[in-house]
Symmetry: C2
């Protein structure tokens, strides 16, 4: 058996403590599977005194994660602090400079700086692994990077923010408003300190950007993503969608079109009978499509101590076993610069509008759609209060560009009482 693999763990929140516990409890199993012992040399966190329910005495303590990252007695720097910049990035850079491999669960840091960090690590002959950064316990990074490496990936889709999926399914099941369920989610501790990271689609968008880089061999481009949150979804949208056999999901889609890389994270309608449509509560699901393999669906817990620690451990065991695949599946310097593309793939859209209750309002909206070359599949005006009339329209297949022309046209009619909500009906 080779030398032990020595870890320095920075960040002792839920996930960090989970990783420490598993390494303590399963040392024999991990050694059998890895072919060598896995040991913790040192740990770091903000407060040394906090009781974390696990014995940290056997490990050296560092107040400063940067100092931890440089210690001579560690081979792998395990970054579980979070935050796109600040200490997490500084310590990761220090680890790379000091010749360590890095395992991280930090989607924000990699979505914003992954290209630069992977470049630096690979130049130094080291690797960054990030299974825990995407979809928690689901081994999707490995599946995409290794399991489907014999495919050209044609599309990646995913429901990768459990909080949003909880909110949307809870609205549907309980018939509650977005605001009510948002407060429930907050009370349950499901929301980040800045809830926009969740409900604005940013957290899930970070994850999608990382998968897209692997899938299409392109540089990580979070800035090029079309992002839209779930804040404007109403219980009416959910009921209307259900009536038509759909579910509303915050879905990420990445695909290559003739114009470049399409990446979008937005609320969409998917068939209620599809695996994505049936995904309930805080579960995550990733759908990977390859030219040879067809469609592969992966489902599991996207967060939580056990699942996330499971993903961190799989990266650590890979390194112990000598598996050294580049961060994004091919050397970072060979990733191509894709031009970010506005969504070009046509789809039907669901439109909800509040119209001022004046004669001819609906006719003017319909006329604008016609002028934009968009044909209407169904239209419905439903129960309304005194001054405005809610209208629902489902279009036939159209492009996002045509739709944007129409939406600008709606505004020019002067009959809108509020900005329209437009949800793509994604073919999954």
């Amino acid at each position: 058996m080779s030398n032990p693999l020595r870890l320095g763990i920075a960040g002792l929140g839920t996930v960090g403590v989970g990783v420490v516990k598993i390494i303590r409890q399963k040392s024999k199993l991990l050694a059998e599977r890895s072919g060598r012992k896995i040991e913790i040399s040192a740990v770091s966190a903000r407060s040394r005194d906090k009781d974390r329910g696990v014995n940290l005495k056997p490990y050296a303590w560092e107040d400063d994660p940067v100092v931890l990252a440089r210690r001579d007695d560690i081979d792998v720097f395990v970054e579980l602090m979070g935050g796109s910049d600040g200490p997490a990035k500084a310590a990761t850079e220090a680890a790379i400079a000091a010749g360590k491999d890095v395992v991280t669960a930090n989607k924000a840091m990699l979505a914003l700086h992954g290209q630069q960090l992977a470049d630096a690590a690979e130049k130094a002959g080291h690797i960054i692994r990030f299974e825990a950064a995407v979809a928690g316990g689901i081994p999707v990074v490995k599946t995409l990077t290794e399991g489907l490496a014999g495919n050209e990936i044609t599309r990646v889709m995913g429901v990768m923010n459990g909080t949003c999926n909880f909110i949307l399914t809870r609205m549907q099941d309980a018939g509650l408003s977005y605001a009510e369920v948002f407060e429930e989610a907050r009370a349950l501790g499901y929301l980040e300190a800045d809830p926009t990271l969740d409900v604005g689609g940013i957290d899930a968008g970070h994850k999608l950007a990382l998968l897209a880089a692997i899938a299409f061999g392109t540089r990580v481009d979070f800035a090029g993503m079309e992002l839209e949150g779930i804040e404007r979804i109403t219980i009416e949208d959910i009921h209307q969608a259900a009536d038509m056999g759909y579910r509303v999901k915050l879905l990420g889609v990445a695909q290559m079109s003739g114009r470049g890389l399409e990446q979008r994270m937005s609320p969409v309608l998917v068939p209620a009978s599809s695996p994505l449509g049936q995904l309930e509560n805080a579960m995550n699901m990733v759908v990977l499509e390859g030219d040879n393999v067809g469609q592969i669906v992966l489902r599991g817990a996207g967060a939580g101590q056990g699942p996330t620690a499971s993903a961190v451990l799989s990266d650590i065991i890979d390194i112990a076993r000598g598996i050294r695949v580049p961060t994004f599946g091919q050397p970072a310097h060979t990733l191509s610069r894709s031009s970010p593309a506005r969504t070009a793939t046509p789809a039907p859209y669901y439109l909800r509008m509040e119209l001022q209750d004046k004669p001819g309002a609906l006719a003017r909206i319909a006329a604008v759609l016609g002028e934009s070359g968009i044909s209407i599949n169904r239209m419905r005006q439903y129960g309304h209060d005194d001054t405005t009339a809610p209208v629902l329209i489902v279009t036939h297949k159209t492009t996002r560009d045509a739709l944007d022309v129409a939406i600008a046209g709606f505004a020019a009619t002067g009959v809108l009482a509020a900005d329209p909500v437009a949800l793509r009906i994604e073919s999954v």
Copy 2:
């Protein structure tokens, strides 16, 4: 970039031709991902003259796969001939003896001889990879061996024979008998030359035995599996199950109990609303449960040229990348000898019987169940012909042992017109 990885491919059926095509069409992509070129040096199949729709001229030809396996100009022997013994096994042994790595899609060979082959390969410092042998395009071997390596696996389940799932879902959707759909499947070319391999559960059982070895660190033990096919499932079983909110699936389950390793491949009832219950047609699904990760569900095509070739390619790319995990996740000589255990985990059971239409027949059956300590959840006697009466019973949770005592007791009553059908209601 390192030296090319040179392949010898034995077997040019659907899968073999698929692998050749992908390597020809995607050489640049594969090289980018692997860090080296992947080349075919030589091929072998039964008939040299057959037109396979792919240009084989660039490759050396061997009539004898054993000679191919020993060629100096190959690094990896790719075995795609099939058959548990005969040429496939002889050539695999020759490859190992000649110091080659092996990639195979051969579930039967590995289920019966995998222990011995892996031992031999690992003693020689070589590896056997078999992603394509289990669930076609779904990268389940990699997920279990690597992606979930930080878990103690608690249970593995799978629908891994697409033909059986096609037959069962087609019976349900079209209301056709087993015999009718069996003939449809034969006409569609879905059945093996010996259909018992499919409908008898043997093919799926081979796959389960391989996953169980990885999951529980035990020697491959196909002989220790409880095997039951779908031949006795009637359209009535399927309708009755549907009435109660279940679907009938040929499901493999492996789990460790106090008594040893439980492995069973048999038709069972699963909730219609579960991912397994919703699996339609020839799709495959594997459910992996780990102590940290919880439940991971994988869904995809379990057969066909593209999906199976995708799995073969992932193994080849792994080897090109220098990934050298032992065949079953830990060295074969360290796998434990588990005692095969009869199913001990209690469950409710569905029982269907034909009783002779005599007074008191049903009472005697009920009495036998009571004597065996099995309580009845529901019982139903339905429309019957002149001489026999079909009876359906769903029990409360009981053990397989108690059920077997009861079934022996039924026989002793003399009121059975045919052997009863007993289907476990699996908690998934």
